[in-house]
Amino acid sequence: MKIVVYGAGGPVAEAAIAALEVRHSLRLCDIRPSSEPHPSLKGDATGNASRWWPSRPARRDHEFRQVDVTNPDQVRDAAEGMDAIVNLTVVRPDPVMAFRVNLVGAYHVMNAAVAHGIRRVVHTGPEVIIDHYWHDFDITAEAPPRPGTNLYLITKYLGQDVVRSFAEVHGLDVVALYFHVFQPGDAPERMKGASPFLVSWADTGRAFQAAVEAPPMPSAYEPFIITGDLPHGRFGSEKAKRLLGWHPQDRFEGHWRRPAIRLGI
């Protein structure tokens, strides 16, 4: 399968590419030139990058295009001849570009899908179901989004609705993967302050592989919670298992043990 990946320079893309490049032909697109790594992937003198960010054991070269997702012509041209789209573009804190990338960019990507007859689009975003459901359990991907006024969350939420509109009207087959926290599967401790909505980099990659290869979805826009199997009963990945055939392998069991047990005391 030929897959165009928008926003191919970031850490999540690195995990996705690691899984997708094993069986598929990729066209990688990013606003940065391929020679300029994403700031969060550069690492530091302590080697944090190699320790915390995803790795690509089967790394190989792919076609690269420098694409600004806010430019409709560039986005459309990059999708030509592709069988599927993976949209990983995101801007978090910038008050202008958050709207332009997360919302207008999503519009351009979906327009490109329609223009080239590409039905399978893997859209991505943050969960928008944590803060407002703070005291709830058994929260599913179908819970109505509640982003609040947080710039990052509200712009991605608006982008989701743009994608949904394209999918429903044009009969596309959109798999929307919602994430929260990523860690290496062998991370010894959980990220401070993180909610129990956590997935390993390796399982993240496998989620993209499943999303691209899964059979047609029941509806034009299907959202999925992508989290490991965690014991809290708050967020679950049952739907992803059932429809995508994705089964997370990293459970972070050590993160949830009482300290005395963890230390063997």
Binding site: P95, V96, F99, V104, D131, H132, T149, I154, S165, F166
Partner: protein
């Protein structure tokens, strides 16, 4: 009536100008100070303290919301700009209508952030009933139906502005959430003859839209949110009120007393027949 209340009318040019003007004249007659804004100069300068600028600019918002007569607490924002975003984009970004999404959503976001800072608590926002045109005409579509906007700027710009504003009414991290009434309007038709409903089943007279805005402001001042189960977000469908109109205005009639002007002059004269 006190003259220390300010109505801030956005989108007061182009397709929003007639509605802005009627609203302004009516409120002005009741003693409101009228401040208007748009991306372009317009006749609004003749009837309002008109500010030309881009709602997406934090600096412009700050200036726009400074020195409001009566202060922010007594001000109401009448946010017509989401209905004008496509026209704004056509001028600023010819051939790229998707820019209207940025104009409508980021403009709304910045404006409402400014309202929080300025202590402005009440907003009446306009949107479009076109988000329901995907439903077959035989269905009685009400506020209880999910919007189904088409993937085009005309539908998405006002709809996404709705979603943006709604978050400002319910974010638990906001100390004093806004109270927003969103009026989804039928397609506006100008003209002087509002004594009969428009023949287009998806259209309404601009004077009736202005009437609904005035009623929404009055209802906010009364402060009864019972019909909205206590929520600070109120959504109402406002159309021509004609029996054959595509969209019913029945809830707007119940909640804010909306009835079109033509019904007042019709033989029934009671307004009870408003669809």
């Amino acid at each position: 009536m006190s003259s220390t209340r300010t109505a801030l009318v956005t989108g007061a040019w182009g397709p929003g100008q007639e509605l802005a003007e009627i609203v302004a004249f009516r409120l002005g007659a009741e003693g409101w100070h009228i401040r208007s804004t748009a991306t372009h100069r317009s006749d609004a300068g003749q009837w309002a303290d008109h500010h030309v600028g881009d709602l997406r600019s934090p600096e412009f918002i700050k200036a726009l919301l400074t020195d409001l007569p009566g202060g922010g607490a007594s001000a109401t924002v009448i946010h017509l700009a989401p209905l004008v975003a496509v026209a704004d984009a056509a001028i600023a970004h010819p051939g790229n209508p998707a820019e209207a999404l940025d104009i409508a959503t980021r403009g709304t976001y910045r404006l409402l952030m400014g309202c929080l800072s300025a202590g402005i608590g009440r907003v009446v926002q306009t949107s479009s009933l076109s988000s329901f045109d995907a439903y077959e005409d035989g269905l009685e579509v009400t506020e209880q139906w999910r919007p189904r906007p088409g993937p085009n700027a005309d539908d998405l710009a006002p709809y996404l502005a709705e979603l943006t504003a709604r978050e400002f009414t319910r974010d638990p991290l906001v100390d004093s959430p806004l109270e927003v009434t969103c009026l989804r309007l039928a397609t506006l038709r100008g003209g002087d003859d509002a004594s009969r409903p428009p023949t287009d089943i998806r259209a309404m007279w601009t004077v009736d839209a202005a009437r609904a805005i005035g009623l929404a402001i009055e209802a906010q001042a009364i402060g009864n949110r019972g019909s909205d189960r206590g929520h600070r977000w109120r959504i109402l469908h406002v159309a021509s009120g004609a029996p054959e109109a595509r969209y019913t205005s029945a809830i707007a009639h119940q909640v804010i007393g909306y009835s079109p002007a033509w019904l007042d002059t019709a033989s029934t004269g009671t307004g009870e027949g408003a669809r």
